[in-house]
């Protein structure tokens, strides 16, 4: 903190000194000399202000870079860890599933079917199967999160893609009195990216928006060109919003505010993984109790980002 103050205080010293000499000159010597000194003091002040601003900017840039670096490191550890866990758990899961199937088969034998308790056992077995399926699904998602999937780049019409995904959720939204507004830029350039991956992200965001609203509300989907090199997609909802303390965590794997058993907390983590692999970024702005907006920035021509994340 002291260092911070120092680096901001020193640049002002010359202007202060000149100002002091201007005052002294004004009192003890010629007034016109004082005026010249005042002007010099002014210039020195403006200069100092500029310097401080530059320092601020540099520190800010340094901070964001540090954060990005931390996140990249964390991500690759999470990647490796989750892939490891997923593989290790997949095998025992497979065996459990197989054995359950076998027991189910054995239960069908005539001699056993006479037993009353067998029905209870069959129920339990079904439950086991269901839970195994659930675990498998989580493992599958983990793998897709960690999978070093190399995107397949194709030319695509983002407006068309967004409309298609909106169509899928439309009917369910109508039933819940959720309006979907479309605000698509008509002259949006074609984008070179991975269509199925983007579809997954957009649909995921739409589903999240609907979850946040539950009933009665609006989802607004917009696309726009940001620069000759990039476009953005915004999915905004008038739902419950995200509490301030959670905003930073929504993209973290396994972070979920949904009830236990509903949602794995991997949806947005996967979204971010995909968008970053496509050379873009995803961010969120939310007002608790009012609205949430997810913004995806995408390069028109994909910039390979994998190299940065994996350091190869």
């Amino acid at each position: 903190m002291a260092k911070r103050l120092n680096s901001r205080f020193f640049p002002y010293i010359p202007s202060v000194l000149v100002l002091a000499s201007a005052v002294l000159t004004g009192v003890f010597s010629e007034p016109w000399q004082a005026v010249v000194l005042l002007v010099i003091a002014g210039i020195a002040y403006i200069n100092a202000k500029g310097t401080v601003k530059t320092i601020d900017k540099a520190e800010e840039a340094c901070r964001t870079l540090n954060e990005q670096l931390c996140r990249a490191e964390k991500l690759s550890t999470v990647d490796e860890l989750s892939a490891g866990i997923a593989h290790e758990i997949n095998n025992p899961l497979g065996i459990i599933a197989q054995e359950t199937q076998w027991i189910k088969h054995v239960f069908k034998s005539k001699s056993l079917q006479k037993l009353k308790e067998i029905e209870d056992c069959a129920d339990s077995l079904n439950q086991i199967c269901m839970q195994v399926d659930r675990c498998k699904e989580i493992v599958h998602k983990l793998l897709s999160l960690a999978r070093e999937l190399e995107p397949v780049i194709q030319c695509l019409d983002l407006n068309e893609l967004v409309s298609q995904m909106t169509n899928i959720v439309k009917k369910e939204m109508e039933e819940r009195n959720i309006k979907i507004l479309m605000n698509l830029e008509t002259n949006l350039p074609l984008v070179y990216s991975d269509p199925p991956l983007l579809r997954q992200v957009v649909l995921n965001l739409l589903i999240n928006a609907a979850h946040a609203i539950e009933r009665d509300g609006e989802i607004c989907v917009s696309t726009m060109a940001v620069s000759p090199q990039s476009v953005k997609v915004i999915v905004m909802d008038t739902g419950c919003g995200i509490p301030k303390e959670h905003v930073d965590k929504v993209f973290t794997p396994f972070f979920s505010t949904k009830k236990q058993g509903k949602g794995t907390g991997l949806g947005l983590a996967i979204c971010r993984g995909i968008i970053e692999r496509l050379g873009g970024n995803i961010s969120v702005v939310s007002e608790f109790g009012k609205s949430t907006a997810f913004t995806i920035h995408l390069p028109i021509n994909r910039i390979p980002q994998g190299d940065i994340l994996h350091g190869s």
């Binding site: 599958h140 998602k141 897709s144 190399e150 397949v152 780049i153 194709q154 298609q164 169509n167 899928i168 959720v169 439309k170 009917k171 369910e172 269509p195 199925p196 579809r199 997954q200 649909l203 995921n204 589903i207 609907a210």
Partner: protein, 130 residues
């Protein structure tokens, strides 16, 4: 258009027959199946580039079929077709690696465009594996 191999899977026989005929008419090598099991059997004997798969089918449903298809032929692209978009199966399908999830009824030209793009993707991925 380049001739590529497509597999149409839907439990409505009429739909399958018509669309196979129309696709052949457009110069594609199209084959139909009326269920997931039949589709998987066909895949044993022939390689397909793109499959069009109905989500809601009796017996083995679209998602289950998709899972099996991707296990056996990861490079074959699959377009899911659905009567009434189910959000759940939509996201599931895409996560399992479907190329697209399209609402019925879909004009043949649109479907053809989707299939061509899916085929293009398969070519890119095959090129990478070599």
């Amino acid at each position: 258009m380049e001739k590529f191999r497509v597999l149409i899977v839907d439990d409505e026989i009429d739909f399958v027959e018509t669309i196979v005929k129309r696709l052949k008419d457009r110069g594609l090598d199209a084959v139909g199946a009326t269920g997931g099991k039949e589709a998987l059997e066909l895949m044993e004997h022939k390689d397909f580039d793109v499959a069009v798969l109905d989500v809601k089918m009796p017996g083995m449903d679209g998602i289950e079929t998709l899972r099996e298809m991707k296990k056996r032929k990861p490079l074959m692209e699959v377009i899911m077709l659905t009567g009434h978009g189910s959000v759940e199966s939509g996201i599931q399908g895409l996560q399992l690696g479907a190329y697209n999830y399209v609402m019925k009824p879909v004009p043949l030209n649109d479907l053809l465009k989707q299939m061509t793009q899916a085929y293009e993707r398969k070519l890119i991925e095959e090129g990478r594996e070599r």
